[in-house]
Amino acid sequence: MSPNLLRLLSLLMIFISLSITSSLSTPSPADSPPYLWPLPAEFSFGNETLSVDPALTLIIAGNGGGSPIVRAAFERYMGIIFKHASGRASSLLARIRFLRMVEYDITSLKIVVHSDSEELQLGVDESYTLMVSKKNEQSIVGAATIEANTVYGALRGLETFSQLCAFDYLTKSVQIYKAPWYIQDKPRFGYRGLLIDTSRHYLPIDVIKQIIESMSFAKLNVLHWHIVDEQSFPFETPTYPNLWKGAYSRWERYTVEDASEIVRFAKMRGINVMAEVDVPGHAESWGTGYPDLWPSLSCREPLDVTKNFTFDVISGILADMRKIFPFELFHLGGDEVNTDCWKNTTHVKEWLQGRNFTTKDAYKYFVLRAQQIAISKNWTPVNWEETFSSFGKDLDPRTVIQNWLVSDICQKAVAKGFRCIFSNQGYWYLDHLDVPWDKVYNTEPLNGIEDPSLQKLVIGGEVCMWGETADTSVVLQTIWPRAAAAAERMWSTREAVSKGNITLTALPRLHYFRCLLNNRGVPAAPVDNFYARRPPSGPGSCYAQ
């Protein structure tokens, strides 16, 4: 049914090349291990193959073991691990095995959580230990054990456990290869973020949940929600109910309850949600509901710096959002502020003259006043780097600077004692489609920062999925698999991600992880295409594209 000769010819070419590389393109977890992503800090493994009971039981221990977060995660991962009908407890095959008293090597998963606190904050302990071994003299029951200080560490351990489990098509059961496993793991950075942008394109709740779920597979832990921008204001703000008139349509909105549900859903997966209200630029859509926020009807951005009303609205938004977003960081934007409108609008110009302000002074005044509002609501402000480059010495010392523009800005910010988030646009802007995975992978947030005490001020990094050309139809395949490359950079040890030839040390694992995402229903794009989110170049194995 292929319509034309040309295509047939190109297909033929691909067969030929495929048959040459077919031995390379069929990795099995039984071959060179470990197919884990991101790579754990420390691990050792053996040479045994263990079978996993489809009726795997959860045994909990420790003060926090009884957390519903642990129980719900266990149920989720059971669905992921046993997704083939034949491997499931309810399947006929499994029942026959049971009648024949087939013994499985791993019959239970023990999860020990020491702390009963479920508070999820920046720097929460995400470390865990995972052991998988067969029944022997030392352990009476064949089991897997995850031990963690917090439930969030246990979640990371469960993810790793699920990556050890592979469906074996010959025995039609789930197996763990290369056991016994001993894994001791913790993240290199406490902040491992992904930005989504719901102003340029509205993303439905279900899609945001798909994104959050997929983040947990790569152990990312902060969803940076760039809610509002100049194009649309999709968010309900009870204190200023006209603001969401700036939404694209009545269907493209989030209620307060929707936002709370997203925060709850994320927390169940160990992911913080950092909300952003980008001021004073990138805020034109605010004025659809409250035109007073515009300098004038014909000059609408940045927000009118002269009016107390502007700051009342910011304070109202932040008060409403404080009830929804418990994360200690709150993003106030502050980037790309073009102050021409202030210069060109009579009443603003007069106000500037009255205070003897340049437009730059007014920009600083605006950002600092917004910072104080956030701080009064017990938030730590995050601002884009222009605020630091323009008036760094005046920023509140608690400010976290988010890099995007200049490659050495984190170096400069930490030298001044500020904390910093690395998001260099040349590498970690996912909307830049011409950045292939290896460039993403090789970007080091600590480059040029040698002093360990300064290194600590780099709290992590973030990949940014700006939404100008990414809606529901393409957002996940633009994020994945490249976000995974950054995720390993931020999770694994610096030695592990910096040494050797990544074509050998990382690429086969990334291929494998991309197919794992596909198998879990996440539409991660081919790894090998130079441009992101392009379709596969021809027929072939997932593991070879």
């Binding site: 083939h84 279900d206 009545r250 209620t255 594209q545």
Partner: protein
């Protein structure tokens, strides 16, 4: 934070279409925002709310639902209706005195069976009362599968009320009587060029139900890979891309079961004798020779034993009355080029063309012996149409005018003409999908009745788990309306339905389906910021 200064500028193309629509009688029907458009609809102008414990009631029904198909369908309907926002409103205070409150849906099904039979009645009648009337909506159907279609329509009547934060139905009372125009409304997926994981196939099936498509044509195997387990010939799936890009027999049974519970038939295809190179990875004897590997060896009885084994295994899980035997694009040069087969041809006094016919007809007989009726691609009809078994359905893809010839000869036909209904032609816009009329130039009633329907084809050369949904949707929906809605109600100019289709595309997005923008061909990416409804 952005490298470029994007501004809202050019949603112009679509706006132009909207304007064009308003000028020429923006029909009431287009404002209904139901896709595909039902056969008959009337409505009022009142608002009702869904109760927070909206119930399924089945008093007076003949259908026992021991399989739970109706209950599950109802629960799925409710969860997709509630998917787009958290329902936090107090529904009891939503109506004036509770009279505007819908307590539930009363479903009455007159057939007691839930066997999914091809051609069975898919009609339904849906009544949503006005606020003054009894507090249950009513759904009547002959079979549970008709009721599932009714549930889909009901889900499209439901909207989230942003003030009260409950689900509402506008324009009540509703009176909808509906049935499909064609009994075969298909979508092809191709798991040989790229393996599609189980959750991806299930997502495709779910999305099909939203557009009331009812046949998943599973092109399982092709030249590139053989991913399915065949118990009778256990080495066949050695032809899979890798040890993990496979479907167990149980996986296939699960897909069939998953689809059946949603009213969708699964049409399995093995494409013989061409498009079968991957078979020989496990059984090299199926190749003419090591260096000439396609089509399957016509001279070897083993070839037909393997086909018999496959179809015997198929008959245990693929319960649809049809099986697809392919038969397209057969390049027979390998047969003459292989001395052993050349000799066999000579002995049997067969040309290559005759051997092709011999192969297809013998495969047809095997399928018939397993109780299947056969579907073959159109080349079989073009080359030896008069020899095909009378139970053959000819599947069009290549030639215009084929449907006329096939039905004139008395055979049945499925329409998939590539220029309009091949989804892998990404330069084909949705308007072409919408305008493609299966009965074009066929006036004779008897001939018309031989056109079972049509199918959009998602060939997999450039399609994997990462781009399948946005390549299928929304264009498949345009074809789905063509196949469902009465001819007289279809827009003569596809652009008249743009607004309604844009709404359906956004509805798919809200349900987590990655349907692409409308502006452009297939799988287009939004060019700039904007509303889902305007792109």
């Amino acid at each position: 934070m952005r490298g470029r200064g994007a501004k809202i500028a050019g949603v112009l193309p679509l706006f132009m279409l909207f304007i064009a629509g308003t000028i020429s009688a923006f029909e009431d029907i287009e404002r209904l925002r139901i896709w595909p458009l039902p056969a008959q609809v009337s409505h009022g102008g009142r608002r009702m709310y869904l109760s927070g414990d909206f119930k399924l009631v089945t008093e007076g029904t003949k259908y026992g639902d021991t399989s739970g198909i109706l209950k599950e369908g109802f629960d799925r309907m409710l969860s997709i209706v509630r998917l787009s926002h958290v329902i936090s409103g107090d529904w009891n205070s939503s109506g004036s005195g509770g009279s505007a409150l819908l307590q539930g849906l009363h479903v009455i099904i007159s057939s007691s069976t839930d066997e999914l039979e091809y051609g069975a009645d898919e009609s339904y009648k849906l009544v949503v009362p006005s606020p003054e009337k009894p507090s249950y909506a009513q759904l009547e159907a002959k079979s549970v599968y008709g009721a599932l279609h009714g549930l889909q329509t009901f889900s499209q009547l439901c909207h989230f009320n942003l003030k009260k934060k409950v689900i509402e139905i506008l324009m009540t009372p509703w009176n909808i009587t509906d049935q499909p125009r064609f009994s075969y409304r298909g979508l092809l997926i191709d798991t040989s060029r790229h393996y599609l994981p189980l959750p991806v196939i299930k997502n495709v099936i779910d999305s099909m139900t939203y557009a009331k498509l009812n046949v998943l044509h599973w092109h399982i195997v092709d030249t590139q890979s053989f991913p399915l387990e065949i118990p009778s010939y256990p080495k066949l799936w050695n032809g899979a891309y890798s040890s993990s890009q496979r479907y167990t027999f149980e996986d296939a049974a699960e897909i069939v079961n998953y689809a059946q519970r949603r009213g969708i038939h699964v049409l399995a295809e093995i494409d013989v004798p061409g498009h079968a190179l991957s078979w020989g990875k496990g059984y090299p004897a199926l190749w003419p020779s090591k260096n000439c590997q396609e089509p399957l060896d016509v001279s070897n009885d083993f070839t037909f034993k393997v086909i018999d084994g496959i179809l015997s295994d198929f008959s245990k899980i693929f319960k649809f009355k049809f099986v697809h035997l392919g038969g397209d694009e057969v390049n027979t040069t390998c047969w003459s080029a292989t001395p052993r087969i050349a000799q066999w041809l000579k002995k049997h006094r067969m040309s290559e063309g005759e051997a092709y016919q011999y192969f297809v007809l013998r495969a047809q007989k095997i399928a018939l012996s397993h109780g299947y009726e056969i579907i073959n691609w159109e080349e079989t009809f073009i080359n030896f149409g008069s020899k095909l078994n009378s139970k053959t359905v000819v599947h069009n893809w290549l030639n215009t005018g084929l449907v006329e010839n096939v039905t004139a000869s008395g055979l049945r036909c499925i329409v998939s003409n590539q220029e309009n209904w091949y989804l892998d032609h990404i330069d084909a816009p949705w308007q072409g999908f919408y305008a493609n009329e299966p009965l074009k130039n066929i006036t004779d009633k008897k001939q018309q009745s031989l056109v079972l329907g049509g199918e959009v084809c998602m060939w997999g050369e450039h399609i994997d788990a990462s781009d399948i949904e946005q390549t299928i949707w929304p264009r498949a929906a345009a074809a789905a309306e063509r196949l469902w809605t009465p001819y007289a109600k279809l827009a003569k100019n596809p652009n008249k339905v743009t607004t309604r289709l844009a709404h359906f595309r956004c509805l798919l997005n809200r349900r987590g389906v990655a349907a692409a923008p409308l502006v452009g061909g297939g799988r287009v990416v939004p060019l700039e910021p904007g509303s889902c409804l305007a792109q």
